[in-house]
């Protein structure tokens, strides 16, 4: 055990000695990623191939990730923020540029997922998985047609609805219904969503971001406003769970991989980026977590059934993405707390 710190000091000395950052191969990789998002098999295959030990630490929301990253503590080598958090990190100079020469497999990423608004110069981030937020309907129990958010939050479904416990997603749904653009979140537009959200909150049975599919599978609720990947997993379980992109509007989320300032094992980080972009590895991730895969070559390796999953690959239509909000995040939290409290 004592050898490793000694080795590290030695490496550091060597590093300081030469002006050129020549260094021994990295021993470990500190990965900070969403829970239920990186398959264990992928991590093990990477460890076996490279001899690098992966320390996989998880978070349950982009905000939680940001809070822990800023608080310091562990020096993460690779983080997995959602697009709008990555944008905030780029603007605050908290990400290191990715050396794409070391990530040749990046060429497999489809053009539409390159140079997106959160990273317009395509310098700091690599898309990992993407997806939508939409409505899941248990068609055995719900016979009325559900086309959008308005049909979902109808008094006849009171107590039969699960939604993600994510203030921004719920506010966005309300903004769509009111006809506002999804990133137009100001104190005024938030105030406009209040009565609508108050009405919806009275119908909701359960707020759950971690595993909203559980309540649907258990039969405790029949309708959900959930992550596309959760809906895809439900559809794989039972075809009675149908996925609907809300008619009023829907957005695309992109979870990216990025290297934070302060990362120590840059070589290992780049090796991992290139590894997960390999088509066969990326396919393996899709097998386990059926989100929308931005890797074109990996998509070709999927089965027809996987590609036909309406929650993973919904019919193409223009989708917006979340932008960094600045201070209004706290206003959303206060609004949601207030509304839950008023029930």
């Amino acid at each position: 055990m004592k050898i490793i710190p000694c080795l590290r000091i030695l490496t550091l000395t060597v590093l300081c000695a030469c002006a050129v950052p020549l260094r021994a191969a990295d021993q470990e990789l500190n990965l900070f990623a969403w829970s239920e998002y990186v398959p264990q098999g992928v991590l093990e295959a990477f460890e076996e191939e490279t001899g690098i030990t992966v320390n996989y630490e998880t978070f349950a929301s982009g905000e939680e990730m940001l809070a822990k990253l800023i608080a310091g503590g562990t020096a993460y080598d690779l983080i997995q923020p959602p697009d709008y958090i990555a944008e905030a990190l780029i603007k605050n100079r908290l990400l290191l540029p990715v050396d794409f020469a070391q990530v040749p497999n990046f060429r497999h990423i489809l053009a539409e997922y390159k140079g997106m608004p959160h990273d317009p110069e395509q310098k700091f981030t690599v898309p990992y998985m993407t997806g939508t937020v939409g409505i899941v309907v248990n068609t055995e129990r719900i016979k009325t047609p559900i086309r959008g958010v308005k049909d979902l939050f109808s008094p006849q479904h009171k107590g039969r609805i699960v939604v993600v416990d994510d203030g921004r997603e719920l506010v966005t749904a309300a903004l769509y219904v009111l006809g506002h653009p999804l990133n137009n979140i100001t104190p005024e537009t938030l105030e406009q969503t209040r009565p609508l959200l108050a009405e919806w909150f009275n119908l909701i049975k359960l707020f759950d971001s971690d595993s909203p599919k559980t309540a649907l599978l258990n039969g405790d609720v029949d309708l959900g406003y959930v992550w596309g990947g959760e809906a895809a997993a439900l559809w794989n379980e039972d075809r009675k769970f149908q996925y609907v992109l809300p008619a009023e509007g829907a957005h695309l989320f992109v979870d990216v991989l990025a290297i934070p300032v302060g990362a120590k094992n840059l070589q290992a980080a780049h090796a991992f980026l290139d590894f997960v972009l390999r088509p066969e590895v990326s396919r393996q991730i899709s097998d386990e977590f059926p989100y929308t895969n931005p890797n074109g070559e990996a998509r070709k390796l999927l089965t027809d059934a996987q590609r036909a999953n309406p929650a993973s690959y919904p019919p193409a239509r223009p989708l917006d993405t979340f932008r960094h909000l600045g201070d209004t995040g706290a206003l959303i939290d206060e609004l949601v707390t207030d509304l839950k409290n008023a029930r």
């Binding site: 929301s61 905000e63 809070a67 049975k205 707020f207 258990n218 405790d220 706290a330 707390t337 207030d338």
Partner: protein, 292 residues
Amino acid sequence: MQALPTAASARAHARPPKVVGWLLLAPLLVWLAAFVVLPLLVLLVYSFCQRDDLGRVVFSFTWENYERVFSPLYLRILGRSIGYAGLTTIICLVIGFPVAWFIARQTPARRNRLLLLVMIPFWTNFLIRTYAWIVILKGEGLLNALLQYGRIIAEPIELLYTPFAVLTGLVYAYLPFMILPIYVSAEKVDGSLVEAAHDLGAGPLRAFSSVIIPLTQPGILAGVLLVFVPAIGMFAITDLMGGAQVPLIGNVIQNQFLRARNWPFGAALGVVFTLLFVVTYALAQRRRRRHA
């Protein structure tokens, strides 16, 4: 507390602490300074700060966080949390007291076996036990299936994600913390005192209220504190078993540190919360001293 030595005996043993005494105390003092005093000071400083758009703490003075704590919204949440914690404490006391008394009246060998039964739940992780409750209470869960099988109900009743589920979870989690201190007090109660009460003409009710309750009071007070204080700040059970529908103060504080990334406001809530306990405790102590 009951077993505190009297003034006379204390004087015989009490000598000014020497170097050895301080050395023995040192680990505890360091621990207290590093993990209690220091964090509380950080919390106090943060609570007067502001945040930037990423949620980093900016050191510029403001009262704003405290103004928000005392707004009707958060006072109502605090009130509801106190209600839940109070109800939990009362239920734990009503269930826990007879159990503790019963165990304390057994032979020593049986006592240990029964105490073991009280402790066994702690061998399993708290979250796993909470998930077990979800399996029991859910719509197509064990309890509903049993009630339907016994033809007590025709349709499954809603148990999970209700205030009932939250209370069940809280009582289940904290009941041992009520039983154990009461047991310690009850074990020390001299049975002949209860018999004497009966001999002097006290009925069971009178013996209970005038003899048993005063003698076990230290255990009851300790139990009430051990249940009430953690129950008021609990957030995992309200999220998992209450469906995160209605916020309690623990959820609000947790949200400030993770989701809303408003550490200064979270710190202000924490400071007020801590002060509330300190003041309540100090008042209780003063009253007790006056009684003595």
